[in-house]
Amino acid sequence: MNMLQWQTFCSEYFAGTKTNITQQYKNLSIYRDNIEAVHINALKISFPIVRELLGDRFFIKLARDYILNTQWRSHSIDDLGCNFDQFILNHELTQNITYLSEVVSIEWLIQSLPEKRNNNVDLSLQLKKLFENSEGFTIGLLPHINIFESSRGGMTIWLEHQKESFNSIDITNIKTSYWLLENNGIDVKVKQIDKDSFSFVKAIVKEKNIGVLCDEFGSDNVIQELISLIQENNILLKCPVTR
């Protein structure tokens, strides 16, 4: 067996498409079991609340199905689970648990938010420039900020599991499906926002030109929202290199 044949042989065994192997290669099962254990463990780390909601045995079954049905190409095992929400949404055993894929999405979003980095950008100066000539500017959310729309109750369930960390939020007083999340380097903060603000921030996420935003939302609304977001240090204004 040359390397190509060996690699194919092992890969087929790990994928479950080759089951008849000789005694000589029976210890391939050690690798298969280890690969599975490492990947399931990575998913357990990324989705602790989903695991708690489903129970260990059910979670492991889903994780095993996910691993077997996903071609995984990322260098980092920390990236495993990026489409777990879609898998849960479509899996025959979980598709009727409507909030579950949403909780998966929230857990993934939370762990994927990079930490806030030192930001020496003078936002007030940028804002001044922005309104002197808005045509050349685009705006975007800072990397450690993201938004989430929770229409199926996933955020409430997620918050219920975070009571100690998020005691500033009164879970019984949730009035919105729209959320803004921030990783400040110590913990992740979530904040309720209204639908209009969500739509505006969603447009910012797409990094629209300020002129396009003014056309869509009206200049007064844009100014008001921007001031609010800038005061909370949530957005980054991008100046062109040359004018």
Binding site: N2, M3, L4, Q7, N27, Y31, R73
Partner: protein
């Protein structure tokens, strides 16, 4: 405050020890970081920024997959170079193994076929990696639970690749003993067969005895026979930097420091003029 070379016995850096290491600066000569853990988008790079300010570091990888039939993964190398520029590691290493195919990453070190064709192929790939990185890399003998098809001994395969490619050898003494038990060969014969002039770093670790096989768990103190072989190798190459691996069931940092001190005592014994080269621990 970086030394020009790695000296003594270092420890694999683990996040569980980060606060203690970064706040108290314990007397550990250097740290190895598992570089693949810092390649994802939200990796905690700032922690290693701080570590690299205070300690010499080395990069140890598991994602190069030099043994797979696919061509060199230059995206992976580009990321590696980016981190190399950032943290200036003293050594960069990976394994004689394959971890992925074109379609799937297993995140597991799988054994390579030990034949002449593969030997030449791996040598060529390592040369390409070193050309891209602009420096020598080290390749480690991996632990295995199955013998891949072979037409030569592993040590002959490794010696030839080091010679042809110019790569260094990261000699994992624990892996030799794990494989010796799993495949029924003599660890001493393996060590005597290795060209020690290629060795640029040593790994020591603890394995788990699972009855019919040894598992390279990195979860135990270093075994006696591994210490014995370590002393034997140090008798030949006494200044070689050594790294204690402990990844699972991670104990307090002090336990690791005790193992490091044990390694350095052996080094002192071996390098003492009055000590015979072969010593029993």
């Amino acid at each position: 405050m970086k030394d020009s070379e790695l000296n003594g016995t270092g420890i694999g850096f683990r996040m569980e020890h980060a606060d203690e290491v970064l706040l108290q600066n314990p007397n550990i000569p250097w740290f190895e970081i598992l570089i693949d853990n810092y390649m994802s988008e939200n990796a905690p790079l700032s922690v290693i920024d701080k570590l690299a300010e205070n300690y010499p570091i080395s990069f140890h990888g598991v994602g190069l997959s030099i043994g797979s039939i696919e061509p060199v993964d230059y995206h992976y190398l580009a990321k590696l170079c980016e981190l190399k520029d950032r943290w200036q590691p003293k050594l960069i290493s990976d394994h004689f193994a394959w971890t992925h195919t074109a379609n799937h990453r297993f995140h597991e070190l799988l054994p390579v076929v030990l034949d002449v064709k593969n030997m030449n192929y791996l040598s060529d790939k390592i040369c390409r990696v070193q050309d891209f990185m602009g420096e020598q890399i080290l390749m480690e003998n991996a632990s295995t639970y199955i013998e891949a098809p072979a037409e030569m001994n592993e040590w002959e395969f490794i010696n030839q690749i080091c010679s042809a490619s110019g790569c260094g050898l990261l000699l994992d003494i624990n892996n030799i003993h794990v494989n010796a038990f799993n495949h029924g060969f003599d660890a001493t014969e393996y060590i005597e067969g290795i060209d020690l002039s290629n060795v640029k770093e040593i790994h020591i670790a603890g394995y788990e005895d699972r009855g019919n096989y040894y598992f390279d768990s990195h979860s135990q103190p270093v075994a006696k026979e591994v210490w014995d072989s370590f002393a034997r190798v140090l008798g030949e190459i006494p200044e070689i930097p050594t790294l204690l691996e402990w990844d699972n069931d991670l104990p307090e940092l002090n336990v690791l420091i005790n193992e490091v001190e044990k390694a350095e005592k052996i080094r002192c014994l071996v390098t003492s003029p009055s000590t015979p080269k072969l010593i029993a621990i």
